[in-house]
Symmetry: C2
Subunit: 271 residues, 2 copies
């Protein structure tokens, strides 16, 4: 990490007793920095605030987080700011402390090194072996319990594979390891629900608002029948999908149109 | 925490980039210390080693961990030593680094403050509202993704309720938030499987070996029909259950016999 603020102060130190470490008791946001600012800040904050409410994590204030994240955004100019909020230290075992004092960790990073071809020629995907467990109490949140994604990303090291799709235990295709998925079928955009597993991505929410895409479950047959596939997140914007395992997809008009619109809005992570 | 070793050295500092914090990418063991030693060390180590293998977490050596945990056990004399192993820092996003350098955190604590009546008169339980998601790839391990348990423990603060039972999404009763469950029905011990969710507790494994208890799924009807219920973990040993919600249970002979056997083996956490 290039520079890290812990509770607003430059630091390289988190207490070993922090519940973020002990239990994954917290949330995070990975935010694209452009021209020294965070274009999607308000959406990131809203999702984080929703997660805090669901976890019963109090005492997290937007003004403080906005200042700290933007302080580092100004430094990094172009790259990533990652924000981690934990329930801090304390409590007895799993039981949260009555008055938690959350820990704020804000870190600035360079942009991840994705080749330009990921945007221009599209990405090749694999299907993960590991399945996503379902739990409505945790679904949608960008919480710190991410072992499923770690194990999924551990399944391959072929650099020709940019990302992998994850299915739930019933075989429904939910998302990538770090991206949300949209398909185009019959000219209409569809994205899977994230109310049982998966993360409610900030870019997914934006694309849903822009396009009125349908939210419904997708299985492998739906994927095979799709005319276009795209992946998205707040850092990359959109990657067109050119292949999933052996099936190839064209980079279609709807995907290209959305990429252009993101570009014009200054929200594409394209390099 | 009273005293903490990080990678063998007294420390109050974990790197903010540690994957244990960022993703819950690690494992832990909570071990009872008695007379300055850890009676169940070998079992804890074996479970940890199995978890490391399943997570692809290499470079964790028993001799090092045994020395560090026992160094603190000698200091605390009677209490708890908690060991956390993470995949350390590094890697790109969820992707683990090619050569991980695990972080070892060993912390000594006083014994938790449970009243003696928990062992003598038994404990009253509630049923959790939150359900356990199922994922065979993670089940059984004592990994750092524990938000389900945190939210479960957040459901009540009545000190008269010692623990709560957790069901999976199909309504099967799996475990307590920090304990495993055994029932006695028709004079026979039964404990639920932990191959889809739940933790394969060290004390559960010991009781299984001692008793040849059956492992099969339990639903609420099975619970209602049980003659005795007990909870166990490596720190408390066994708590007899005297009530689950409004249903009462006697403290029966089989439970009392196992508690006596634990006492004689020096493995009861009774105060």
């Amino acid at each position: 990490m290039d520079e890290v603020l812990v509770n607003g102060v430059r630091s390289t130190c988190i207490a070993p007793s922090d519940r973020g470490l002990q239990y994954g008791d917290g949330l995070f946001e990975t935010m694209r920095v452009h021209d020294g600012t965070i274009p999607l800040w308000t959406r990131h904050w809203r999702r984080l605030a929703d997660g805090c409410r669901r976890l019963g994590l109090e005492g997290v204030e937007e003004a403080v987080l906005r200042e700290e994240t933007h302080r580092l955004a100004a430094v990094v100019a172009r790259g990533i700011v990652k924000l981690v909020i934990t329930r801090g230290s304390g409590g007895r075992g799993y039981r949260p402390p009555l008055e938690a004092r959350p820990t704020r960790i804000v870190a600035a990073h360079a942009s991840p090194h994705h080749p330009a071809s990921h945007w221009r020629q599209g990405v090749a995907l694999r299907l993960c072996r590991i399945r996503l467990g379902r739990n409505p109490a945790l679904a949608g949140m960008k919480h710190l319990n991410r072992l499923e994604q770690v194990l999924a990303r551990h399944e391959w090291d072929d650099p020709a594979i940019a990302e992998a799709l994850m299915q739930d235990d019933r075989g429904r295709v939910v998302c990538g390891t770090m991206t949300n998925l949209f398909t185009v079928t019959g000219g209409r955009l569809v994205t899977p629900p994230v109310d049982e597993c998966g993360v409610a991505g900030v870019m997914r929410a934006l694309l849903l608002e822009w396009t009125g895409a349908q939210v419904h479950a997708l299985n492998l047959e739906d994927l095979a029948a799709a005319e276009e596939l795209l992946l998205c997140n707040a850092v990359i914007g959109i990657w067109p999908v050119r292949a999933v395992e052996r099936q190839e997809y064209p980079i279609g008009k709807i995907t290209l149109g959305l990429m252009e619109r993101l570009r014009q809005a200054g929200l594409s992570g394209e390099v």
